[in-house]
């Protein structure tokens, strides 16, 4: 299947003037026994992002392609994907910057798949919830904003955009479902640093665990993959120092 980017849709490319790229896109729908790759040919302009290309594929070549996106500027965290084996936000990754004539697109790894490029984030959110969903920025609430039914408030913590790229890139998460994981540990470090009503002792107890801060093997892939400069690996090491310090203090207290 082949198509140029529609000039009416995308002001960056005019039919016949773009660079031809072959996209190999992971496909798997509910009930499929295994995943496979579909190939789509597309002409891209210098500013075409991977997300632009995927939207063009869905619009023009295959309306059954499942993917998720919202903001187009790496703020909502919904279009995190594995592009050419690296975790990126598809919306801010320019196709030609990848430098390959074939571009492989897969959903983020180590999570549950809904279909094609869309993953189920329930497990990811549950890990954040275990920490207490730290750091609700009051300044991010628009008092005038309308909330969907059943939602009490919009919230997010700090810089994390909850995209799941860190969990996809982490080699430990790849083999261990019980590991709390980089995003939740980064949230824990921020919550202990600035509790805002949460109990730091409870959180420290939660992460001072073989499946908490001590499970990390310092590959630093989470920090490399993070599109929002959260630095989960740095947070995990800070948590270890806190946990070790707390244990040391409790030993000293017991002796004296």
């Amino acid at each position: 299947m082949s198509a140029g980017i529609d000039p009416a849709r995308d002001t960056h490319a005019t039919e016949g003037t773009g660079v031809p790229i072959r996209f190999r896109v992971y496909r798997r729908k509910a009930g499929d026994r295994a995943g496979h790759f579909d190939e789509f040919a597309l002409e891209v302009a210098p500013d075409t992002t991977v997300l632009d290309a995927l939207v063009a594929i869905r619009t023009r070549l295959d309306p059954t392609l499942m993917l998720r996106h919202s903001c187009f500027h790496a703020s909502c965290g919904t279009c995190g994907m594995r592009v050419n084996d690296a975790e990126v936000m598809a919306c801010v990754t320019k196709v030609l910057d990848l430098g390959t004539p074939r571009v492989k697109v897969e959903p983020i790894a180590n999570g549950a798949l809904l279909g094609d490029l869309a993953t189920d984030m329930v497990d990811f959110y549950a890990r954040l919830a275990a920490i207490g969903r730290a750091l609700v920025r009051n300044s991010e609430w628009l008092p005038s904003s309308e909330l969907p039914p059943g939602i009490e408030a919009h919230n997010r913590y700090e810089s994390c955009i909850e995209c799941g790229l860190c969990l996809s890139a982490c080699p430990v998460v790849a083999t261990d479902a019980r590991y709390l994981g980089p995003a939740a540990l980064a949230a824990a470090e921020r919550a202990i640093g600035e509790p805002r009503g949460l109990d730091p002792g409870f959180i420290l107890n939660l992460i001072d665990d073989p499946q908490g801060a001590w499970r990390c093997h310092a590959a630093f892939e989470c920090t490399e993959a993070c599109p929002s400069e959260v630095d989960p690996a740095g947070a995990i090491m800070a948590l270890r120092r806190r946990a070790a310090g707390a244990r040391l203090r409790s030993i000293i207290r017991r002796r004296t």
Binding site: A112, D123, A174
Partner: protein
């Protein structure tokens, strides 16, 4: 804290269609798309296994001593062959990488120089490379 309390309930593939795409061992060993820290992670695992394998082999070889001088002398003449000396260089690479990266991982694990971990890795690898060249020259000069 028990292990179960840390993690949420896994999604049950039977109740709703949700296929877990955990990468498994490929998530450890696949170097594609990985950055410097990821490469160090992979090499640390490989050299760790290699050194473990060497240790077992080393103990088997030492047990030859119990079987008398002829068995031991037979091994010593084999150990001087150029192919064997190449294995020695590989072994020293493994020991150097695992040991030097171990220093980095230990320091980082104590929350020290975390933001300079990449520079530390490069510096340690330069030291390791020099040590490896010196060791290789010694091995082949003596062999």
């Amino acid at each position: 804290m028990s292990e179960q309390s840390v993690s949420p309930e896994p999604i049950d593939p039977g109740s709703s269609w949700a296929s877990r795409r955990r990468r498994g061992i490929a998530g450890w060993g696949d170097p594609r798309g990985r950055r410097l820290g990821g490469w160090a992670f992979i090499l640390n695992r490989l050299t760790g296994l290699g050194v473990l394998l060497y240790l077992s082999f080393h103990l088997v070889v030492l047990s030859l001593l119990a079987r008398g001088p002829s068995a031991w002398d037979g091994f010593v003449s084999l150990a001087g062959s150029p192919i064997f000396l190449c294995f020695d260089v590989v072994l020293i690479f493994g020991l150097l990488f695992h040991g030097l990266n171990g220093i980095r991982v230990t320091l980082v694990g104590f929350g020290l120089v975390v933001d300079r971990q990449r520079a530390m890795l490069v510096a340690l690898m330069v030291i390791g490379a020099i040590a490896l060249v010196v060791a290789a020259l010694h091995i082949f000069a003596a062999g």
